[in-house]
Symmetry: D2
Subunit: 336 residues, 4 copies
């Protein structure tokens, strides 16, 4: 931690800061500069809670050099983690995986048809929402528990492990009973009660990045789950909110190699939600693979024009099969 004193800070103010640091059991190293003095803080283990210091008079700025996460950091866990989802291994050294399926489970026939189609095309996981976060209350909210059963049945039928979203702490048990991978949506990335409950779950978690979450906040949210006792977290970039409205969100692919520097956790990419536009999904899926993603989430619907949500960004089964063929060739070329 570095404490930058104001240009006008007095000697007494500086001394008070030094003493406050020492009262915390740390050492303070004043660094006089031409314009202002800074105070280096030494001797800490990890992130310092600056509560007793930050408001002392004469301080201009406090700069944290340590991060608000530790267990997810590669500094403290150099070896890349691999997460096992009902037999499908996701992470460094593994073949990139594809989770595919509709935005929402809409009925038995729809989810079974989709499951068979994506399985035939080579998908590794079946995705589908039973609980749907929707902007307004007057649109389709998902089938709930009935949707979970239909999804699980379609997974069994097709032989694919299933991933679905859980929106509330009191649904974690129920969703974990049906699903193999528990998804936290972008709007809930900082629903800390949900994250804590998932820290106690016995199933792996797919944590989507919040719409305006920094990479630091994203990793700090993952830290909640690991700190709760669940080491099996997969991160997922799904686009951030920016001023640009030509795409639904702005896909931030640079985060893929950057997450791999900062953390040992696997990282997947969801080009469907990121772009919101069917024609952009294949090029961005391939770009994500080349950028190093450990897997992809792709929305597929047997009849996108009839989808109850996210139709415009869903691939048809034919489109998905073509993309999978492309991805297979690309992966063979990359030789991960």
């Amino acid at each position: 931690m570095l404490i930058v004193m104001s240009h006008k800070a007095t000697k007494e103010q500086l001394d008070a800061v030094v003493q406050a640091v020492e009262r915390m059991g740390l050492r303070a190293a004043p660094i006089p500069g031409s314009e202002r003095t800074a105070v280096g803080v030494l001797g800490n283990e990890g992130y310092i809670d600056d509560l007793t210091i930050r408001d002392l008079p004469g301080i201009q700025q406090i700069i944290h050099v340590s991060k608000p996460y530790k267990m997810v950091s590669r500094d403290f866990h150099p070896q890349s983690s691999v997460v096992n989802v009902a037999g499908v291994r996701i992470g460094a050294g593994c073949r990139p995986v594809v989770a595919a399926g509709p935005c929402a489970v809409e009925g038995e026939e729809q989810i079974i048809r989709t499951a068979r189609a994506v399985k035939a095309a080579g998908a590794d996981l079946l995705r589908g929402g039973a609980y749907k976060p929707r902007t307004g209350p007057h649109t389709f909210q998902g089938l709930g528990e009935a949707g979970l059963s239909l999804l699980a049945a379609a997974g069994r039928e097709s032989g694919l492990p299933v991933v679905t979203e859980v929106m509330s702490p009191d649904h974690v048990g129920l969703v974990a009973a049906h699903a193999d991978l528990l998804q936290v949506g972008a709007r809930n990335m900082q629903n800390f009660d949900l994250l804590k409950e998932l820290g106690r779950a016995a199933k792996p978690v797919l944590l989507k990045r919040g719409m305006s979450a920094t990479i630091e906040e994203f990793l700090a949210s993952a830290e909640y789950i690991l700190a709760g006792g669940n080491p099996d977290v997969i991160l997922c970039e799904r686009g951030i909110r920016t001023f640009e409205t030509a795409t639904r969100n702005t896909l931030d692919l640079s985060i893929v190699p950057l997450i791999k520097e900062f953390s040992h956790l696997p990282i997947m990419v969801d080009p469907s939600h990121a772009t919101g536009k069917r024609s952009l999904v294949p090029p961005m899926a391939k770009a994500a693979l080349v950028a190093g993603a450990h897997g992809l989430l792709i929305e597929v619907h047997p009849e996108p024009e009839k989808a109850l949500s996210d139709g415009p960004q869903s691939l048809t089964p034919q489109g998905f099969a073509a993309l999978m063929a492309d991805l297979g060739r690309l992966h063979a070329f990359l030789g991960v």
Copy 2:
């Protein structure tokens, strides 16, 4: 709704769109232009779910003229709403209110001291967090239920109704038993299960704007609560996330008069979280009042330099008293 056809759309594609609209029981009015044809959709009641249309070939864009909310809209409820919080009236025509107190309840003495100080300075409500949303798991998470009791006791002792945050649907009952106004934090603005539960609560709700929520999404979140049966919602602007890092968030004061055009609900402003900087709180509090805010949330701590959270943006009791005197004069001048 307006459906804009692509430059290259064929006559057949246009006909298919017209037929799809008519199958929904609506009328379609093609508007040929020099470059492309648009199709006006007529006869709808409120927002149209475009699911069976939006993905038809030849469509370039669908523009929704109706909004994803109705009950919160001034169009359908022209008279301004006033929310009664344990006798304190908030909204158009009422004296602007001030809710003051610490970010977090830290102990009995701290909250009692603060309650007395803010009451003496003229505050209308006591605020204080018992459940704290924190970026990382390794920092102070609030006192929980014990904090609720301390807050309620301080409210009774000082004669101030209390407002505190509820983070999880299964805590709504508990928090409602202690608090007079239930706060939804920015990170939970789209925690839809929480919003639905609050729609069934018997206490009014203070809904904070999400960090990257548009005004349309903000109002759609309020719609969840009204649609659930609870008409008593107060909106609160608390700064949005932008590229600027000199302030904690960017306070979007323009939303105050704009919300008053779009909605009948009261709107408050939280300059403490918005700016994150003590010296900016008084000028922004006064600016918010002049912009038309129905109330303010101000963080006050007896010893900000020892606060377990948000110290740098908390006023001292002395600073708060000075601000209240200024606000009182300003309000008398404005003569609301």
Copy 3:
């Protein structure tokens, strides 16, 4: 400057960094921590160009404590500056000023009518664009030199000094011959050749904040003009670009008190461009005044519905007169 070494940096890498700092004639103070070592850099005068250091192996991050500006900083020029625009004084201790007029000079009658109207209502300066920055080439681009003459004539006729935009270094002389205050538009805030030329101009400059400029970049742009020899710069907040589309831009009023902490330069606010919506201009103008702005820019057009640009955000002369009366009362109350 603080150099943060990586967790894995070796002793040799640390030594190389220390030596590189010393080769610059500065002192290096290593600060060992539990996780990593940081190196404080001492002895510099102002901002350090880190070119010979920043890329050495083992460095994780370089944190600049000094700012990329000095002459505009209040640290080095504690007394607030007042800028004199043809007799109108703008800055701390002066009555807040109002510059009013149309977005664009459209013709003699329009600008004369507007000049008389805003003068009668109490405006201090006449604004009007002769050179207009427009998104696309197929819309009205301003009257150019003819517009300058019309504006200057209207200023003389009404007795108001005039402010107008200059878009190109080679127009600075021409614009300065007609105008009393030279405006740099948001799109040109980092047109450095223009800023340098304005540093040589004999007229004061109104520098608008760029659409996505941080406060630090904003002040660094002002520094170009002061460093060029022209001390007379007035800053102007006009809204920043964010994800919100309900307003044209997001007015960042917190910058007003913040600029006054960081810099000695005066700061004005343009609520017309910031909001893009006529009904929001009066409340935001008043809020800006209360937040401490030294002046306002207000768009006024005799017939906004016929304006060649920015009609929806222009006040009518009647609306402007009403606002000026309100502002006058507010200013009398504030007693600046």
Copy 4:
């Protein structure tokens, strides 16, 4: 164009709007809805300037269906354009090109060494800045005309066409005399006087996207150059400004396939400025290629740790050669 009337608009207001549309020589088609009436505007050629309409009473919103650009649009020029830069062809159907070199020309030896190295590694163009846009005035501003000569000489020596930035309209002639491709930097994307001057230039233009420019504004800026008479424009994505600070900018790769849908112009990607971090350049360069970019701009410096600007994002010659080998294999696989 669609004019959406307010919920409360009167019959008289609607009639006035219809008449105003007809006075423009267009047809108005009222579309009554359950909540409000909209008016479709028919008969226009291209973008409608709504100046005489938009401010009439009773209008809630005007929606432009046409775009502020035409010549750059694929709608009106379906065939992809190929730009010839001194014999190097850039665009659809051509081998993707790589422009490489230092951020700034710093001296003869530096630029010659770099030119030889990037040529040997397979680069197609040599890049290097002679005029440098820098945030503050106290850092290296480029060698100016001397830098142009050195760059041109290095280009001749190595056999590579050169690309360099032009910052001011009055430098266009000079820069065009030395360079084969004239770069407009992000900060000047809306420097319209510069764009107009480039419309008259005899050399092709590389137009970088502004830091907060929408794709629509980006294309409208290109339209200025085409409208001025110069058809040879190459677009370049270089990252946008968002809330994320872990990378210098946020690389928006989705724009690559999207630009190809909207426009016939070639699109390149600059992963160096976008990420600001050397380790991210190779993965993002490859991802850009897979996303369909027609070329790349890569910063290379013989000694990045001594670079006068942008060292942390510059590749070494060795790093660049390795990347070129990877890109070559990837391109051979993709078989463009």
